[in-house]
């Protein structure tokens, strides 16, 4: 969309809030070195394709920042939106045909599917990294290939446990358990009190994968080793599957069919006591006057730590890429640089209401993370993020394995008791080998 006066007016509210926040900031490190200079090409204009926002403030802040860029440089920027699931095919088509948006926000390992079609932004990434405390390793992994940046890690869409505090207390837990063992006990107690948990075992692209990867990684399992050899059929995976089976028995019935939206609906209807989701779930309750009581009762925390002893999660991650075919590579880099600078990035993170977690460490001090206790777990998203297809290389195979729901299906098979953990792990191994074949 072209920035209109209405957009500006809409965005100005967010900007004002952002400006108020800026005064509270102050902890963003002073720019030790001067920024790189990108001079937009004469007559440049840009087209940006992003996913449709989940939180309105995200879009308002981004549009307001873009407007500032246009005013400062004269470069017109048109921002188009697509449903988040349509981003992958659209980006692929743009890469294949060599025409389309100049800048695009892509998901997960998309950038690794067509790295040679993307502009090398290593200098810009290093410049931003050196001035803003460095990139978090997880998001950086998604944007880097063979030591070069093929995109800028834009944000991590954090995932955290959302639960009903009063019900947890009613179940006899004064505080939320931090480890997987305690979490299982809590879920059993909640179920006994008539407040089951609910995590999707259906083909839920985001939530289903988040849950399955946490189950696997927290128990030390992994899809492949560093060389891309499939090692999913391991004792650690079997343990994870056994744990999933036990946890499943504390769930509300029907989670095998759940898609991404089902856990939100069940939670907001008061049918389940705990699930994992982005902060948007909390805001859905908070923005609905009828759910005010529930919103006050919602608390969030990071997913429990398993036998591996550290917090490891998939989350969703988005990378801003510039296609090589762009006629205005300088303008595109100038635009991204401008959007990553402290004023704009802080404004955007704040506007996103904890939905988008910073990828540059300096922005961890953004006031949004302390403005509401519910936001706090989402602040760690980039820190706990582990890339898809861990511990192997990102690329076609890692993306294909996720798209084929190999992990999601494996956990669903074992959790629902349709297969033994051993059988489920073996089948997942066979399926993953189709993609990681040598």
């Amino acid at each position: 969309m072209t920035i209109s006066r209405r957009d500006l007016l809409l965005g100005s509210a967010g900007l004002a809030a952002g400006a108020a926040g800026m005064s509270m900031l102050g902890s963003v490190p002073a720019r030790a070195q001067s920024a790189m200079k990108f001079t937009p090409e004469q007559g440049a204009s840009l087209r940006v394709l992003r996913w449709s926002p989940f939180v309105k403030g995200d879009e308002d802040a981004w549009l307001a920042n873009t407007k500032k860029f246009t005013e400062a440089t004269g470069v017109e920027v048109r921002i188009d939106k697509e449903s988040w699931e349509d981003i992958r095919p659209k980006a692929a088509v743009a890469a294949n045909v060599g025409s389309g948006p100049d800048v695009m926000w892509v998901w997960f390992d998309d950038a690794h599917q067509y790295p040679d079609k993307l502009l090398d932004v290593t200098d810009l990434a290093n410049d931003l990294g050196s001035r803003y405390g460095g990139w978090y390793a997880g998001p950086e992994g998604y944007a880097k290939r063979d030591g070069r940046f093929i995109g800028l890690p834009l944000a991590t869409i954090g995932n955290a446990l959302c639960y009903r505090d009063s019900w947890v207390k009613e179940a006899g837990f004064s505080e939320f358990p931090k480890d997987t063992k305690g979490f299982l006990e809590l879920c059993k107690a909640l179920k006994a009190k008539g407040h089951p948990a609910g995590f999707p075992h259906g083909k839920a692209v985001g939530d289903g994968n988040n849950y399955a990867h946490w189950l696997l990684w927290s128990h030390g399992g992994k899809m492949v080793d560093e060389n891309g050899k499939v090692v999913i059929n391991s004792p650690e995976t079997i343990e994870a599957l056994k744990y999933a089976r036990e946890l499943y028995q504390t769930f509300i019935p029907g989670t095998e069919s759940w898609l991404d939206v089902n856990n939100n609906r069940a939670f907001l209807a008061g049918e389940i006591s705990v699930t994992a989701n982005g902060v948007s779930l909390y805001y859905a309750a908070k923005n609905d006057p009828k759910l005010a009581e529930m919103a006050a009762d919602i608390k969030t925390t990071n997913l429990p730590i398993g036998p591996v002893g550290q917090s490891v999660e998939l989350h969703q991650t988005t990378t801003a890429v510039i296609f090589k075919y762009t006629k205005f590579p300088q303008a595109a880099q100038a635009y991204l640089q401008f959007m990553f600078e402290a004023d704009q990035m802080n404004n955007w993170i704040q506007g996103s209401s904890a939905y988008c977690c910073q990828t540059l460490k300096a922005f961890a001090s953004n006031p949004v993370w302390t403005s509401d206790p519910v936001h706090a777990p989402y602040a760690k998203a980039s820190e706990t993020l582990r890339p898809n297809g861990y511990a192997g290389p990102l690329g076609y195979a890692s993306a294909a394995v996720m798209a084929d729901y190999v992990l999601v299906d494996m956990f669903a098979e074992a959790a629902t008791g349709q297969r033994t953990p051993e059988d489920a792990a073996k089948r997942a191994e066979q399926r993953a080998n189709r993609y990681y074949r040598v």
């Binding site: 699931e85 992958r88 095919p89 692929a92 890469a95 294949n96 599917q113 067509y114 079609k117 075992h201 259906g202 083909k203 692209v205 509300i252 019935p253 029907g254 989670t255 095998e256 069919s257 759940w258 898609l259 089902n262 609906r265 069940a266 209807a269 049918e271 076609y396 993306a399 294909a400 798209a403 084929d404 299906d409 669903a412 098979e413 629902t416 349709q418 089948r427 399926r431 189709r434």
Partner: protein, 315 residues
Amino acid sequence: MSVSADSIPAAPSSRWSLSRLAHDHNVLGVLFLLPAAAFLLVFLTYPLGLGVWLGFTDTRIGRSGIFVGLENYQLLWEDHIFWLSVFNTILYTTVASVLKFGLGLWLALLLNERLPFKAFFRAIVLLPWVVPTVLSAIAFWWIYDAQFSIISWALIKIGLIDSNINFLGDATNARASVIAANVWRGIPFVAISLLAGLQTIPPSLHEAATLDGATSWQRFRHITLPMLTPIIAVVMTFSVLFTFTDFQLIYVLTRGGPLNATHLMATLSFQRAIPGGQLGEGAAIAVAMIPFLLAAILFSYFGLQRRRWQQGGAD
């Protein structure tokens, strides 16, 4: 416009040849065919040819592939998810088509009777067909929801069940549910088409048979059904093709779940090709649908359409 002296004598000859061309049936035929042929070539033949070609390559998103012969098909041969999708597709198509035919024919016969508000009922019947698939699929998604299903709610209220029905979470239930949604959507097409066929049957045949003492079943068996067979052949061929290639309903309701129990070849092809990035393999799955579709068409052609009585001979 100025006209040069040289061009004047040439004019009658070109006009003559143009008018001759304009009266040449062959030339005209080709000319009139051109737009349609170009349309078919660009929008049907080329994509189909490209799909077949892609099935023989290892093309991925963002990378043009190389010819790999039958490798994609070999890989699919050993892939249990693919075979499950073939089974699901055949089951889905067979059960849904039989139900659509039976219920559609029944509805058509009812609508062919003298009913009050006949036109109104005929219009109403078309609604499921008119509503965009995605919209009706979303409605069914709610109807089958694990927690908020109206069917479960109503049955619990009546006291027939005490917990929600797991419509889309159990493999058998999920298959039955998606088939039911497809049947609901597809019946109007069959019913209205067959109704059109019923109205072409001369009433005199029925009158004559009635005078001869034929029962209503005999009239149906020996007059209605044979007269309707050509229409049934065409309608059911289309219906089978639509059902076999269904995508939207499954994608909205289950995405192929639970545990791939409702994955059809079309949805698996999409999942592998677009989100999965393997255009070659996705195309191979799509191409693997062609033999089944051809078989359905040939069955209809040889089994139902080429009846000699249509040409005035014995059956």
